[in-house]
């Protein structure tokens, strides 16, 4: 039976992880490879690396990092952040990334999703959506949540899937950072109506929140960052807890 996936997210700047405290078992918590390999050994099902570097050297630094990750990490990983062109994706996949995620650039140029799916296959194209609930609906935000649009998240997700996106990574800005739980309603709406997996993100604070997003919202995967980086929840105990609640997970 296909399992629900637990996905730690690592923010990367200039080849280093941005958040994270010192872990006993690794020498350098700022090293994405060491942290990624630690999560993999603890039972993480996939990893997401989100690059927030804003320099001209970006593409080169990132592709070198991706190669190092691919060399050392034995589970699948997605790379995202600022990807705007087919060539960016080509470089990252050639470097060893399993999937890439696109966000703002795909919204501004939806044809990018078609091009990427045609060129590389839907299975490696993750569409990331940042969304906020206001005035009675969930709206798409761009540029890391700084720019509002008048497009509804569900409509954009559906269009992107029709264009060839293979997975949706949905982040609720209302929930992100609150530790009050995932946004169950919009996650459920996407998961129940789209024929691709939905990764829920934003709001994880307790292990019960993961049960809710899998059972009540039927998310296929759940992503979190700080609770893992600050060891508020560790992956082995989370998986044991989920298993005890009847959620199918991998050990």
């Amino acid at each position: 039976m296909l399992t629900k996936r637990i996905i730690p997210c690592l923010d990367i700047k200039d080849g280093r992880t941005v958040k994270g405290i010192n872990f006993e078992n690794i020498r350098d918590a700022g090293d994405p490879i060491e942290l990624g390999a630690l999560y993999a050994s603890q039972g993480a099902d996939e990893l997401v690396f989100l690059d927030i570097t804003a320099t001209n050297e970006r593409r080169k630094t990132l592709s070198e990092l991706v190669t190092r990750i691919a060399r050392h990490v034995n589970i699948p990983f997605t790379v995202g952040g600022g990807i705007a062109e087919v060539e960016d994706v080509n470089v990252l996949l050639q470097s060893g990334a399993d999937k890439i995620s696109v966000n703002t650039a795909a919204f501004k140029n939806p044809g990018l999703v078609d091009s990427l799916a045609r060129e590389f296959g839907s299975q490696c194209i993750v569409l990331a959506i940042d969304t906020r609930f206001e005035d009675g609906d969930w709206y798409v935000y761009l540029n890391g949540g700084r720019v509002k649009t008048d497009r509804k998240a569900f409509d954009w997700a559906k269009e992107a899937v029709d264009r060839g996106a293979g997975e949706i990574l949905l982040t609720s800005m209302n929930n992100d950072g609150t530790k009050q739980g995932f946004a169950l309603d919009i996650t459920a709406q996407l998961s129940q109506n789209l024929h691709v997996p939905v990764i829920a993100s934003g709001g994880a604070g307790t292990m019960e929140h993961f049960v809710d997003v899998f059972e009540k919202a039927q998310a296929d995967a759940a992503l979190a960052a700080s609770i893992f980086h600050y060891k508020e929840i560790e992956i082995p105990e989370l998986k044991t807890f989920l298993y005890g609640k009847g959620v199918n997970v991998r050990f």
């Binding site: 039976m1 296909l2 399992t3 996936r5 993999a40 099902d45 691919a70 060399r71 050392h72 034995n74 589970i75 699948p76 996949l93 050639q94 470097s95 060893g96 399993d98 590389f120 296959g121 839907s122 299975q123 490696c124 293979g166 997975e167 129940q192 109506n193 024929h195 691709v196 997996p197 296929d220 995967a221 991998r250 050990f251």
Partner: protein, 197 residues
């Protein structure tokens, strides 16, 4: 020992090379017939679309080369599907090592099925030297929209709405639908077992 990874127009080849690196084995990515024929082990990986891949192989006569190989061959994902008789993906005749039909997952009316299947699923009914020290019900990482049906050569089964072949084996040909190169320790063990045949 020389291990060749067949180079063609499909993705994910680098990951296989890195997985070999982690086992201390240098895999040579090549489409050179002599290099492939002289290798002790041949890996036929791939993520992509069946008809495009078959056309590419035929144009370079790699189709005949692959089926003529006598050394152990490991097909992975699309590589496994191409070793089957025929794929529904753009109605593509394939290499025919395994007498198995490759079909597309179909969603039952009452329950929306996510296609492609993406993620970790368990493998059962293991009976191949590939799976030595790999426990029954181990989880492997799958990404696919098409599956190989069950047949006489099935040596592992997975369920996604229906039971299908997670692995096939016949003579010197071994094949897995999942990605051992991305399936943590158990996946690595399968690659190691293949190298140690």
């Amino acid at each position: 020992m020389k291990t060749a990874i067949i180079k063609y127009n499909a993705g994910n080849i680098r990951s296989v090379q890195f997985a070999l690196d982690r086992l201390g084995v240098n895999g040579i990515v090549t489409d050179n017939p002599e290099e492939i024929l002289s290798a002790d082990r041949v890996i036929f990986p791939g993520v992509g679309e069946a008809s495009t891949a078959m056309r590419y192989l035929k144009e370079r006569n790699l189709d005949k080369l692959i089926t003529s190989l006598q050394q152990p061959v490991l097909g992975i994902c699309l590589g496994m599907q191409l070793l089957c008789r025929h794929s529904e993906e753009n109605d593509t005749p394939c290499l025919g090592v395994f007498d198995v039909e490759v079909k597309r997952f179909t969603s039952p009316v009452e329950n929306l099925l996510k296609i492609p299947q993406i993620g970790w699923n368990n493998i059962t009914g293991l009976h191949s030297v590939m799976f030595e020290h790999v426990p029954e019900n181990s989880y492997m990482y799958f990404v696919h929209s098409y599956y190989a049906a069950l047949g006489a050569d099935t040596v592992a089964i997975t369920n996604y709405v229906i039971n299908y072949s997670a692995a096939l084996q016949k003579d010197n040909f071994y094949a897995v639908q999942f990605h051992p190169e991305k399936s943590a320790e158990h996946g690595s063990r399968i690659i190691e077992n293949f190298l140690n045949l």
